[in-house]
């Protein structure tokens, strides 16, 4: 399940909802990752654009990969402005086996950073500035720059 929220995530409610929905389905391990906006560089907030059609396909690919290992995946992300000290990203993996849960959390979060179609902007004095220095070209970038 992939959920997009306008603004900050209700983290406690999400974690409680996810745990409550699956605690009795015989998964031995739940792992979570929650990303929170750090107060740095004088920003007021970060802001996010999402391209949902590609994000949903990317997420569904990971969900299927985890299902093939007997595991569940769920994730939430913010769109628009997210003030410092509030959270923009949360996910949960439920697995019968702890190794699968721990390894897939790491792999999922790293691929999320590299390939989820989400764009980040610093918000300073009401202005939105693309965080180019912290952004990563997705796999396959440069295709249209070649000599084709």
């Amino acid at each position: 399940m992939l959920k997009i929220y306008p603004g900050p995530l209700p983290v406690s409610e999400l974690l409680s909802e996810w745990y409550g929905a699956h605690y009795d389905e015989n998964y031995g391990a739940m792992v979570n990752f929650v990303g929170t906006i750090r107060d740095e560089g004088g920003i007021d907030a970060l802001s996010f654009d999402i391209y949902l059609p590609v994000l949903q396909k990317w997420f569904d690919g990971w969900k299927a990969k985890l299902e093939s290992k007997g595991a569940l995946l769920m994730m939430a992300h913010s769109e628009g402005d997210v003030p410092v000290h509030t959270s923009s990203f949360a996910c949960a993996i439920f697995s019968p086996k702890r190794r699968v849960a721990l390894e897939m959390l790491d792999a999922f979060v790293e691929d999320f950073k590299a390939n989820a179609p989400i764009w980040k902007y610093d918000v300073r004095e009401g202005k939105r500035i693309y965080a180019a220095d912290r952004s990563t070209p997705m796999d396959g970038s440069g295709l249209l720059a070649g000599d084709g």
């Binding site: 992300h77 923009s88 979060v109 950073k113 965080a131 952004s135 070209p137 396959g140 440069g142």
Partner: protein
């Protein structure tokens, strides 16, 4: 005609162009200095599926999306 969309920070309105393959799209976009600077760092989707080859044939009404460098989380 195919529609070309520029996502996230590229911040440009969609264009309609004549193109039979992604190579045609590439040739056309390189002519536009505002777009050309993004090509090296952008990934490409056709009808919302990520693609890795310029040989992809395009048909009338297809949508080509440019995805610049990302940073979720």
């Amino acid at each position: 005609m195919v529609k070309v969309e520029f996502l996230g920070p590229i911040g440009k309105e969609p264009m309609e162009i004549e193109a039979k393959t992604l190579a045609d799209v590439a040739a056309r976009l390189k002519e536009d200095p505002e777009v050309a600077k993004w090509l090296e760092q952008s990934a490409v989707a056709v009808n919302d599926t990520m693609v890795k080859s310029l040989d992809i044939p395009l048909k009338e009404g297809d949508r080509v999306s440019l995805l610049p460098p990302v940073c979720g989380g």
